[in-house]
């Protein structure tokens, strides 16, 4: 139940993030309408004639967007080193255009996307931690890269959080005392003194899932 609540919360967060600042839209003026193709005069392209409303007061600049299905699964692979094995099965539901029935890549931050992002994150993070546990040396690990699974010192654990913030979200050199590090740190420090390495691995897996489902991971 709590998990479901979170899903709704995260979905809402994405929706708010992407939908709240689109600029005001003036729906009163339907805008120019095109009757058939315009003559071949450069510099006269009208606003998209398929757009039912006029452009509105959009500020210059790029809009923050949700990743496409391909961008998401490729990025997840970069971050975790694991390809989501169910991607082909759910690519359409994630918004991938099949170019038959659907010809535009889906970018709507909807509940289906949110749900499948969670599924993909859980699957790939579990595989990533397993691969990390089997890795011969620390440098070839993707998630627990800066420390050993046996590490329990908060200062050392924080360096791996810093590494993951860069790896998943592109945040460089976030100070240890920064909230963005401190917020994640308790997951791997609180109550873990007596943990086995396997239990510690579960904590790192949780951090991985949290980052892979983070609104800042799936948008850009």
């Amino acid at each position: 139940m709590r998990k479901r609540k979170w899903l709704m919360g995260a979905g809402s967060a994405i929706l708010l993030l992407m939908g709240a600042c689109e600029g005001s839209i003036d729906s009163g003026d339907p805008g120019p309408r095109v009757d058939g193709p315009a003559p071949n005069v450069p510099g006269t392209l009208p606003p998209r004639s398929t757009d039912p409303i006029a452009p509105g007061d959009i500020e210059p600049g790029r809009s923050v967007r949700r990743m496409t299905a391909d961008q998401f699964v490729n990025s997840l692979e970069v971050a975790t080193g694991q390809r989501w094995s169910d991607f082909d099965r759910f690519a359409g539901a994630l918004g991938r255009a099949d170019l038959q029935q659907v010809t535009e890549e889906g970018r709507a931050p909807n509940v289906t996307f949110d749900k499948l992002v969670g599924d993909a994150a859980r699957a790939t993070c579990a595989d990533a931690i397993e691969a990390d546990l089997e890795a011969e040396d620390r440098t070839s690990r993707r998630i627990v890269h800066e420390v050993e699974f046996s590490e329990r010192a908060p200062e050392a654990l924080a360096t791996n959080i810093q590494y993951l913030l860069l790896r998943f979200l592109g945040l460089p050199e976030v100070p240890v005392e920064d909230e963005r590090v401190q917020t994640w740190l308790p997951l791997v420090t609180e109550g873990t003194a007596e943990f086995t390495d396997a239990e510690m691995a579960e904590r790192w897996e949780a951090v991985c899932i949290g980052l892979a489902t983070h609104p800042d991971f799936v948008t850009y």
Partner: protein, 540 residues
């Protein structure tokens, strides 16, 4: 804390942490302007150009360059294979490049499947080969063949409805190493497995599709496929990729973007080469039913000798009738009519979709509507431009078939279609009815004036009808600047994630267009200019 609790705790963090990255981004996204630099810009560029977030190593390279996304980093990205993967996908979307809508790459006459004994055969050819459509070969190895290599029937039982003088003829099976996996050996009914070169009339059994009982699937079954099998899907996927591969080929070499619409070159891999070499072609131009594919593929045979499974993509020079992506299998079959083909081009590359008048389409007022859509009320808005544009495709087959028809001319009626379907004359063939004016597809007045003429040119002026011989590449002529402007606009909107506003359409877009033209329609240069622009580097 147990595992689930840890997960929930981690997940809950992602939307509640004050000062977290999500808060930072939310603030940034609400700011009217924020210039994006450094790591964030690299992430944005990587997702737009490479389709993925940067690796840790790429962030390190950025740090090494002082945290500035410089020209060297951009050049590396624009040379990366991931960039070309994005280029292909972007253009596949523009042309709706996909042939997954076909149930199979092959017509029913070429589809094979296993029967209950596990023997492969063409279920639709059973009547042709054995005399009744419910009889397969026997599960006995065929050992006896005539002087031409054709199987001698094991038995000829007299059965009801057998079409060989009241008898059927039943052969055994032979072992075949199929082209899709030459390392395996499968049982195939001997008639279906025939690999003879010609039928008794001297027609080729292996160069083009020949439905004769004296022909089979050819060596290694190369002319047949199991419907919707992995083999079938591999061919469809490769053919669906073809337009995007042509764009990539042109863009990689920094050639004019316009060449993507005019070049004779195409790009094939093992699967699509196999299709063009062995599964296309028809023995008669007016073959009805099934799927017909026939297009001059130039030096395919010498350029691509490799096997079906080769993933190596190679450039092939096609015949002179070809026009870049516009005459690919995917473009032609995905867009099943000449009008659909012209419409997609106008929408995707001229940014000029066909839309009706703002007054809407009027109700039909006449009992006998004007057959000329260029003048008919409500239709003229679009068709006055669409019909001459569509005529550029008149030489090409339609309705999910593919091939060049040299029988079509701009104005001259085709003899076999100009005098058919009337009393005292033979029936019009499916070929005539599909592509030429006949009593079966046109009004009396139209037949009287233009019987046997290409349907595509009936209501065109003589000058407009020349589009037939100009071919699809003629759509580029005179539209170069407009294509440049549309390309710049569509790409800008892709990268900005929104439509351009009117100020940008009037001021920024013309600059981009002119630079694109001045660069010789260099697509990578356009991308470079776009991602360097202030507009791209500001986030709402």
């Amino acid at each position: 804390m147990n595992r689930f609790a840890a997960l929930v705790a981690a997940l809950a963090l992602t939307s509640t942490v004050p000062g977290s990255v999500s808060t930072v981004s939310a603030q940034a996204s609400c700011a009217p302007e924020e210039r994006v630099e450094g790591h964030r810009l690299l992430r944005q560029l990587s997702l737009d150009l490479l389709g993925r977030i940067p690796t840790v190593e790429e962030y390190a390279e950025l740090d090494a360059s002082g945290g500035v996304v410089d020209d060297a980093i951009l050049a590396t990205m624009l040379g990366d294979d991931d960039f070309y993967s994005q280029v292909r996908r972007y253009h596949q979307r523009l042309v709706w490049g996909s042939v997954t809508g076909l149930s199979s790459i092959a017509g029913a006459q070429r589809r094979i499947s296993r029967n209950g004994d596990g023997i492969w055969r063409n279920g639709n050819a059973r009547n042709t080969y054995r005399g009744r459509n419910d009889i397969d070969c026997d599960d006995v190895e065929q050992t006896e063949f005539d002087a031409n290599g054709r199987p001698v029937p094991l038995r000829t039982p007299a059965m009801a409805n057998c079409r060989f003088d009241g008898s059927c003829r039943i052969e055994g099976y032979v072992w075949v190493n199929p082209y899709w996996d030459p390392s395996t050996r499968i049982k195939v009914c001997a008639y279906d497995a025939q690999a003879v070169a010609e039928d008794t009339a001297g027609n080729s059994c292996t160069e083009t599709y020949n439905p004769s009982a004296q022909c089979g699937c050819g060596p290694n079954l190369r002319q047949c496929v199991q419907g919707n099998s992995a083999t079938d899907r591999a061919m469809r996927a490769a053919l669906g990729d073809e337009p995007g591969r042509i764009f990539e080929h042109i863009i990689r070499a920094d050639r004019s973007y316009l060449e993507a619409f005019t070049t004779r070159e195409t790009v094939v891999n093992g699967a699509s080469a196999h299709f063009y070499r062995h599964m296309s072609g028809v023995i008669r131009h007016n073959t009805g039913g099934g799927v017909s594919y026939e297009a001059e593929m130039g030096n395919l045979r010498t350029v691509y000798p490799n096997g079906f499974s080769s993933a190596d993509w190679r450039v092939v020079e096609r015949g002179p009738e070809h026009s870049g992506i516009l005459t690919t299998f995917a473009y032609m079959t995905r867009l099943g009519s000449n009008r659909a083909r012209a419409n997609r081009f106008y929408t995707a590359f001229l940014c000029n979709p066909f839309v009706p008048s703002s007054e809407g389409i009027p109700a039909e007022s006449d009992d006998t509507p004007d057959p000329n859509l260029r003048t008919r009320a409500g239709c003229a808005d679009c068709h006055n431009v669409l019909e001459p544009a569509a005529a550029h495709f008149a030489h090409w087959r339609d309705n999910q078939t593919f091939g060049f028809m040299d029988q079509v001319t701009p104005l001259t009626p085709l003899a076999e279609c100009s005098n058919c379907g009337v009393p005292g004359s033979p029936n019009c063939s499916a070929f005539c009815n599909a592509y030429f004016v006949t009593p079966n597809n046109s009004e009396d007045a139209t037949v009287e004036a233009a019987a046997g003429r290409s349907l595509a040119t009936v209501f065109l002026s003589d000058e407009e009808a020349e589009a037939v011989d100009t071919g699809p590449s003629g759509l580029i002529q005179g539209n170069e600047t407009r294509i440049a402007e549309c390309t710049a606009r569509t790409l800008s909107e892709e990268f900005l994630g929104r439509e351009l506003n009117e100020d940008e359409l009037l001021e920024w877009l013309p600059e981009l267009r002119d630079e694109f033209v001045a660069s010789g329609y260099n697509f990578r240069d356009l991308v470079r200019r776009l991602v360097r622009s202030d507009i791209y580097r500001r986030t709402q």
